[in-house]
Symmetry: C2
Subunit: 210 residues, 2 copies
């Protein structure tokens, strides 16, 4: 409906919308059909003013005193995030971390399906049988295009990450979740979210010394 | 030396210091002994003014025109982060993700050693032999205290995460890296960094629609 102009929403707001969506799913599972903004804010761990501000991107809705319709709000957030249908994702780098990610059930629950994986050694023996096909790196462009994939997960070593990112961007990938410690250079049209496990630990390491 | 009063450094600055440290290590591996702030900022992907501001926490140093001593700056950042010696870490939840984290080499490279793991089913058959001992959950307090551990990784399902967090805090853990989708409630003295893989993908999902 309001799809003609897509609002520019800051990345942090998008993260919070994901959190609200999880809270709404939990409320729905518990049989609740409406929720007051204070209760939803509290469940999400944000201030009510923050919640109300974040939801202004959807225009005016919710009834003062009655709160939000759980089903409606969840639907609007899913629509915005693009998770109202199963999204195909490819994974590059089937080492320890990549193998774990392939068998991680949390993705599918949230609407993401890893449809193919790529590795420098696609035929190498792996500890467990994988349900996803593993291809050689030079098949990235073809598989991504054939399956209409827009999102990729990079779980290769730092030294290989930029080359892989280039191949993914060339193939038409628009969003990369980067688990390698490398800083990736991509065109402005591509979004990279990086998860650097060692840096997260290092950050904690500072705070436990306080 | 300047250890009497520990500066209050924002979390984002701490993340950037981790990035600078990685850049400095790379420079050292390439045989460089000094680096100008512009070059270091460029390697880290930040503005030179940002870098200089972040480094003011260390007081006045660096020589105008000559730049920073790579070894000295790396040492100062490591000291501050507390990664100049191997830090013991425990992991709770040895499922798919937990198993991958146990065999992830990136941690040890950065100064973290997973010394013990805990699981609701410590004796369950796992796909591969693990080098780290796996204990039952009721051993958390004892092992954490015996080994002087201050940091923990949580990789259990959302439903178990708060109970695990409580046990860790009670045992004296000060920093938690949380991979479960649960929002954890901990005392102010404990730092939690959360990595929610599904939320990272959801965030990308929004941006690829642009």
């Amino acid at each position: 409906m309001k799809k003609t102009v897509r609002p520019e929403i800051p990345r942090k707001t998008i993260y919070r919308l994901s959190v609200y969506l999880r809270c709404l799913h939990r409320l729905r599972e518990n049989g609740l059909s409406t929720v007051r903004s204070e209760a939803l804010a509290n469940a999400a761990g944000v201030k009510p003013t923050q919640l109300r501000k974040d939801l202004t991107y959807f225009g005016q809705f919710g009834t003062r005193g009655l709160g939000y319709d759980v089903e409606q709000l969840a639907g609007m957030i899913s629509d915005l995030l693009g998770t109202n249908r199963l999204q195909p994702v490819v994974l590059v780098g089937v080492g320890n971390l990549g193998t774990a990610l392939l068998s991680y059930r949390g993705f599918e629950q949230e609407g993401f399906e890893i449809v193919a994986a790529f590795d420098a050694e696609p035929d190498r023996d792996r500890d467990k049988p994988l349900e996803v096909p593993i291809y050689a790196m030079d098949r990235i462009a073809r598989v991504v295009r054939d399956k209409g994939v827009r999102m990729a997960i990079i779980a290769v070593p730092a030294t290989a990450a930029q080359t892989v990112a280039n191949a993914l961007v060339e193939a038409g990938i628009g969003g990369i979740l980067n688990f390698s410690p490398a800083m990736l250079t991509v065109p402005d049209t591509v979004t990279v979210n990086s998860v650097n496990l060692a840096i997260e630990l290092e950050n904690l390491s500072y705070f436990i010394q306080q």
